[in-house]
Symmetry: C2
Amino acid sequence: MLLSLPIMNRQTLVQQIHQKKSVLCVGLDTDLQKIPQHLLQEKDPAFAFNKAIIDATKEVTVAYKINTAFYEAQGIEGWLTMQKTLAYIPQNIFTIADAKRGDIGNTSEQYARTFFETYPYDSVTVAPYMGEDSVKPFLGFKDKWAIVLGLTSNAGSKDFQLQSFGDEFLYEKVLKTVATWGSPDNIMFVIGATREDQLKHVRSLLPQHFFLIPGVGAQGGDVPTVCKNTLNEDGGILINVSRAVIYSSSGNDFAAKAHDAAIAYQQEMAAFF
Amino acid sequence: MLLSLPIMNRQTLVQQIHQKKSVLCVGLDTDLQKIPQHLLQEKDPAFAFNKAIIDATKEVTVAYKINTAFYEAQGIEGWLTMQKTLAYIPQNIFTIADAKRGDIGNTSEQYARTFFETYPYDSVTVAPYMGEDSVKPFLGFKDKWAIVLGLTSNAGSKDFQLQSFGDEFLYEKVLKTVATWGSPDNIMFVIGATREDQLKHVRSLLPQHFFLIPGVGAQGGDVPTVCKNTLNEDGGILINVSRAVIYSSSGNDFAAKAHDAAIAYQQEMAAFF
């Protein structure tokens, strides 16, 4: 008899969203300079921190986003921490390698293998600048997603993404073009919009796709504006909060405070279900 | 008394170029599926391959480019191989982490630490889509370079880079804008042009910057066209060849054949010195 293991696919994700009345994604940007100092005596301080944060937030969280840069900077040790963290995330919660990869075809294939096989994430963030053959290798894996940069939430989004490109902005051209390379079942987009008109506009361009939405919390966006303008019947969004959840306290109560912060975000979201 | 260790800076690079009459960069896209099968009995087959390739080519090579994707896909073992390979490259030869990173400021800082400190490369390739704060963190390290994607050599370059952006192509806008964020001493550009008019045009836009030029060999570009249109008094270019050097033979003679291929490229280059 086959064991009925939970499989992470679009249906599981949508189910979690409706069950938890939440689109909260917690970003594990785990920085040894910022975690509570008492954890530094642990054998693997970053993993001890992540484990406590996951335990404290998983009840209201539908996705965890691991910012690979923070792990890569620690060398081999960091990759080991990342591996343990990924394995510790409950199987019915969606996982994102926030790695912003993208290269010519044969190289993107290697990155897809890295983040879908070597490290079995459900999704990986992908940079679009190199075009179709740099994105396509991420789209051939069952129940796996490329989350392609559309409009990011940082100041630098104005340099290229928000420049006029013919009669539209570059990011609109990117969204429309990339969407034709796959489907809402294997492509999501990073939409770091905090402005109501942008959120509304992007949802009208792409009614079915999931959006990964950073910019809430430390970067100034708010949950009701995002939910009002982008939620669809599947949920259709993942609102990422990193620092405003995981660094809620630098003391012994860091996990309890992260729990409280996550619950507060979830309650704001629940009002829209 | 201080030991006079060779320091890798612009002067060392230019010196190497003039001494060797070469702008050859060998790309170590080391793929376990493609290396000679007899190496698979070695403890670390990829390192055994890289070591032999470096020994066979270093006499005429001024830079080695490590394509990180091929190492990342192997997990921890791959990072160990990469570390050993980087350490094995002679100190007066320029090293490139071809990693195509780029993210919001605090995350790009982590990537800069990864490739300039944890792994002490001289340079790292950087994707420009997220704008100024995604590139700037790579520019604050003495004698280190960000090599920013301008025009890439793959088919997908037509999707965005070669689309009209007002009265210019997106890649031209990127080159002009990014150049203002630093100087020729900390920014180079990836220019995968194989067409004479593009090469000439890009050199006229940026007379002083170094260009990393892929697309020669397996991808169809040729050395004389590139040299004629882009060489400047410092050399000013690094022509990358990966597959056409490192996979010259799949037999026991792979290193000897790689040596011959590297020499042949260098001789084409020497004609322009």
